[in-house]
Symmetry: C7
Subunit: 79 residues, 7 copies
């Protein structure tokens, strides 16, 4: 069971360099290109856009999001 | 006691590829096909629908939900 | 001291297949038959009923509740 | 230093079968006979009474309280 | 560095049997004689008094406070 | 997979001595020169400025921010 | 990488016996002489002053602050 049980993190690893949308616990959403992600769901995002209630609220060059704030990660292009 | 004590995670593993409904701590609900789940209850959901107070609020292709946000997982089709 | 110090989880293990009522931190209550439970208090509940302020708010077939949300578990039939 | 540093949990162990009053983080209080307790402060309580703002709000046969919700435990009869 | 880096817990150990005042995260304050404390800051307090906004709200014989609720511990008599 | 899976923390390590902007969970933002960072995202910031709703609210010489409060770190100059 | 990655805690260790200002998650601030600090950021403070919205609200002789409540520590005199 140890191999399939790791899958969600593997799916995220395979999504590196793809466009993602990350919803945080505070309900803000960050969209950008996911440059990398680790096992805590710490994420590097480039060309990041911050959305608040679906409206763009800020632009960032390069963000490192701390994984414990993540609610979910939406992978824009299917694997 | 070590074998039966692991059962809830085994039940979730057996529900892979089934339709589930996931309630988060923020009271949002996500319905979709559970493609996989790990021991932290990190979940991959495809054709995900977001419900807010029982009304559909968004559609997502593929979501990875971080397990620590999960309140409960309802397995739509019994095992 | 190691043997008696594990008792609360043993009591829960012995209550498997009994009727329980589970209060969560968000004050919702879930009643049903406890099919299994692990050391994190992750619980499988069947024929689950959700109560909100003591009134029935929903019915579920099979639920897996994530243990970290549990406030307490009431065992309906004494051991 | 390792022996005395474990004392609070030892005191709780010695209070097994005594009458206790357990205040939770949500300010509810549970009084009853403490049948057992483990190192996480998971507690089994029998003949449990729930108090809300010092007034009795419910009676329970046997409760298992998850330790991480505990604010403090008052031991009614001194050791 | 390992020896001095443990000092705050050692200072608390040396304050056993002294009068302390413990502020919790919920802003309540508990004053009493600290009978013991462990590495999680679980504390045994005797002749405990509860203060709410600096006014006495309750008296307790013997309390065991769960350490994760502690904001700070004030040692009344200097070491 | 162990090497690429560590990347977000490596990116932060490489940003030492760069100008960063750190958003905390309480929505305050701290800008300054990041003198160092560890694996918990504990950060040393010099010439730190505190921003509240995008307006400067305080100046600090040298701050050590505890990592568990971090929402994200924006690296001002790209790597 | 293991040596520089520990720096924030080393900087705090070197600041022992200096004047510090500690902001907690509940927005209270504590100023005093930092007598010691451990790896959890548990801190011993002497001649401690409590500030609320920048106004002095209380004086304490000796405080031990539990590290998990710390937002940041400002070192008053640069290293």
């Amino acid at each position: 069971m140890s191999e399939p049980i790791k899958k969600p993190l593997s799916v995220l690893q395979k999504a590196v360099h793809k466009q993602v949308s990350i919803r945080l616990k505070n309900d803000h959403e960050y969209k950008g290109k996911m440059m990398n992600i680790d096992q805590y769901m710490n994420v590097i995002l480039t060309n990041a856009e911050e959305y608040n209630n679906n409206s763009l609220s800020a632009n960032y060059g390069k963000l490192v999001i701390r994984g414990n704030n993540v609610l979910f990660i939406k992978i824009e292009s299917d694997l």
